[in-house]
């Protein structure tokens, strides 16, 4: 059972939450794992928080809904407020500290606060903070290898957006190594 990763990624619409989730899912698929990806949907998306549930597992996946994530990526304060308490003890919480004006309160989890947006701005594109966080996520959890993640990225970023691809990879590496 321990080889099942249940990741919740949450933030505002427009922060690339859904894309980040898709990327990890895709990488999981390439790695030969069972995967599922489930977005929150409906009016709560407007103005409020958007989130997605990603499961990467060695076993067949039952419900794609995650009640207690093994890892949480929170990209705004409402998301952290909403999901902090749901993370399993010993789980991981990754926050974008450029956007969240408080710290993680839980003491029984691994809390990592990264100024991801700031890093991303420094590297040239603030909107790719999501990739910074994904890079860090896979380092912390080992869901997939960095190589597979990059491979997945290549598959889902259209060839004509080569530039974007490279930028994304840079961000991931920053997160992974930083």
């Amino acid at each position: 059972m321990n080889c099942t990763h249940e990741i919740v990624m949450a933030g505002f619409g427009g922060q690339g939450i859904m894309f980040a989730g898709k990327l990890v899912s895709y990488a999981g698929m390439l790695a030969g794992k069972e995967i599922s990806w489930l977005p929150s949907y409906g009016p709560e998306m407007r103005g409020g928080t958007a989130n997605c549930h990603v499961i990467v597992s060695d076993e067949q996946i039952g419900s794609p809904i995650i009640t207690n994530p093994t890892a949480l990526i929170a990209m705004n304060r409402p998301s952290l407020d909403k999901f902090e308490d749901t993370v399993v003890p010993g789980g991981l919480i990754l926050t974008d500290s450029s956007l969240i004006n408080r710290s993680v309160k839980r003491k029984d989890v691994v809390a990592i606060e990264i100024p991801a947006t700031q890093h991303a701005i420094d590297l040239g594109e603030g909107k790719l903070a999501n990739m910074v966080l994904v890079g860090r996520l896979i380092r912390e959890t080992g869901i997939v290898s960095l190589d597979i993640l990059k491979e997945a990225l290549k598959k889902i970023v259209p060839a004509r957006k080569q530039e974007l691809l490279e930028m994304n990879i840079k961000m991931i590496e920053l997160g992974y190594n930083g």
Binding site: G13, P43, R46, G47, G48
Partner: protein, 244 residues
């Protein structure tokens, strides 16, 4: 010092759920102001429709009903026939009113049903994530007109005021906008006039309000007002289309 501007009493003191800069909020406030000014809160019953404004039942301080998609005019008719002394209004989007609700709208107007319709035209289905509406402009890209609305396959946008004005039962029909202070003032006047038309028993009244959907238009709120002015207003001319 006196308050020259504050929240109208007919509007509940709760945050609105609309996206940043969505003009649904302005229109809500104008309706509430009109109710305040006419001092009719206690006898007003509103009908929320299905669309982004579905939660409007949480925002008006009067009795409210939530109607099935497109059927607000029928629901309002039911209410008004039971309590003819009430002031009954519907608040409907363009998908709700001009697509699925076309028959209910046309017939409420034809019957001269003494209700007031606040028709919020943002040229898109907001709530469901930006699909083409009957009011979507030619060439406009939406989730279901990804190559731009094309008249040949997807038909022409419907001009609701123009159509309803042909019906004998409609007593007051106007199109307004909330893109500027001036137009907001006119919009308020029209809304008030529509309620008065109902109260005086003259027949059916409708105010079409051109509105924005920054989220699904993919524009900032400020750009959205520009887009409204540049694209919607020329196609949907403002004005009073009928007055009895």
């Amino acid at each position: 010092m006196t308050k020259v501007f504050e929240k109208p009493k007919a509007l509940c003191d709760v945050p609105l759920h609309y996206c940043p800069g969505c003009t649904h909020g302005i229109i809500h406030r104008l309706v509430a102001e009109a109710i305040d000014e006419l001092d009719i809160l206690g006898k007003t019953v509103g009908v929320a429709s299905v669309g982004c404004s579905v939660f409007s039942y949480n925002y008006f301080e009067c009795d409210m009903q939530q109607a099935a998609h497109g059927r607000a005019p029928a629901v309002a008719t039911g209410i008004k026939r039971v309590h003819p002394g009430n002031v009954v209004f519907t608040y409907q989007g363009d998908g709700d009113l001009a697509a699925i609700g076309t028959a209910e709208m046309v017939h409420a107007a034809a019957r001269g049903e003494k209700i007031t319709v606040i028709f919020v035209n943002n040229a898109i289905y907001g709530m469901t994530g930006g699909q083409m509406a009957p009011t979507t402009l030619l060439g406009q890209v939406t989730q279901t007109s990804p190559y731009g609305r094309n008249a040949e396959n997807q038909g022409y946008p419907i001009k609701v005021c123009e159509m309803l004005s042909t019906l004998e039962g409609s007593a007051y029909i106007a199109r307004v906008s909330v893109d500027s202070v001036k137009n907001i003032r006119n919009a308020k006047k029209a809304i008030k006039k529509a309620f008065e038309t109902q109260i005086e028993g003259k027949g059916f009244s409708l105010v079409e309000v051109l509105s924005t959907c920054p989220t699904n238009w993919g524009l900032s709120p400020v750009e959205s007002l520009d887009w409204l002015r540049a694209n919607m207003m020329p196609f949907y001319p403002l004005g009073i289309y009928k007055e009895k």
